[in-house]
């Protein structure tokens, strides 16, 4: 869904969740990219997903310190620009250690 679907497909697939207990969408970010043009499209998709179903948005930063700082700054900028104004509340930012070793790749955070 993240990489292979067309832009319009994510909200459509998302709409199939009918669970009354669904409340949280976690986006894992592990790398900072200076070119954040993708983020505008990304938040556009999130907005449409939120229209389909409300959720609490969580960004999980799994990056090393430098990249983590840049990601946090980028997310702050996104919030200031109002790209996430469609949410009911500000997104939560969680921090986790980068996962390197295969044993840890699928360990839940």
């Amino acid at each position: 869904m993240v990489n292979q679907h067309q832009p319009s497909a994510a909200p459509e697939v998302f709409s199939t969740i009918t669970s009354h207990v669904f409340f949280e969408l976690v986006i894992g970010l592990s790398r900072y990219e200076a070119d954040l043009s993708w983020a505008v499209r990304f938040f556009g998709v999130l907005r449409r997903m939120h229209e389909v179903r409300h959720f609490k948005l969580v960004f999980l930063l799994e990056a090393f310190w430098d990249a983590r700082q840049k990601l946090m700054e980028a997310l702050d900028a996104v919030i200031v620009k109002g790209l996430l104004d469609f949410l009911d509340s500000l997104p939560t930012i969680r921090i986790a250690q980068p996962r390197h070793y295969q044993w840890d790749v699928l360990d839940f955070v």
Binding site: M1, V2, H5, V13, S19, F22, I27, G28, L106
Partner: protein
């Protein structure tokens, strides 16, 4: 009390266990919670690959093992196969009846078919969580294997590799052993095998995962969302490529 705070500090736990008998007794369950089998290194003789099993058996530690990790050294071939077991090592392995977590790397599931119950059946009542890294099998063999554990709640699969051996066990005979609960978490990385889930849905009457983490497994998204429509609480995607929605 002190030891309870050190459950993830193996070095400190080892030091504590040397302090006195009561501290050893308190530390031992944590120290021996996880059994890791790596085949003894690249030069290990095939007869000695399961030696840790006889060691923990001799020390009476088998009941303490709750998690088993099986891996292999880089550059070595897969060693955790039925032929690695002799009568004694299989006996010790079968005595591990308190295990609730399995983390298996490069498990060539097809090699265990059709006798997979002989090797993994003793985990069936206690196993709650399984993680498979680079499992090698067909989707049907994988769902058959997972159905061995009726109390299974959490599943993690990464980079499943489809391999169809020349002499395949008839698919029709791969009937499910049970209907796993599957009420916990699902983490799926680069394993777009829809058939696993259609099989498990058929045998379980549905899936009830509450938490999902999906990466590069887009084919499975619709069926998983539909199957867990009533139970899903949290959903996690990763955007390491920065291409969400592309």
């Amino acid at each position: 009390m002190i030891i309870a705070h050190l459950t993830h500090e193996l070095g400190a736990l080892e030091a504590c266990s040397l302090t006195c008998r009561s501290w050893y007794i308190a530390a031992a369950p944590h120290l021996h919670n996880t059994l890791t089998l790596t085949g003894g290194g690249p030069d290990a003789h095939s007869d000695r690959r399961l030696e840790p099993l006889s060691k923990i058996h001799k020390l009476g530690l088998i009941p303490l093992v709750k998690t088993i990790r099986v891996g292999k050294w880089p550059g070595t071939s897969c060693w955790f196969i039925p032929q690695a077991f002799d009568r004694l090592s299989l006996r010790y392995f079968s005595a591990l009846t308190n295990v609730h977590t399995l983390q298996l790397q490069y498990l060539e599931i097809y090699r265990f078919i059709p006798d997979i119950e002989r090797y993994f059946g003793h985990f069936s009542q206690t196993l709650r969580s399984i993680t498979l890294y680079d499992p090698c099998c067909t989707p049907r063999q994988l769902s058959h294997f997972l159905s061995l554990f009726p109390n299974l709640g959490d599943i993690g699969i990464q980079d499943a590799y489809e391999y169809v051996p020349c002499a395949t066990f008839p698919v029709a005979e791969l009937v499910p052993f049970s209907a796993p609960k599957l009420r916990g978490r699902l983490a799926l990385y680069n394993t777009p095998w829809v058939e696993i889930w259609t099989d498990l849905i058929a045998s379980c009457g549905g899936l009830r995962f509450r938490h999902m983490e999906l990466r590069d497994s887009a084919n499975c998204t619709p069926i998983l969302f539909e199957a867990c429509a009533e139970t899903l609480e949290t959903l996690r995607f990763n955007t390491s490529e920065g291409t969400f929605g592309e």
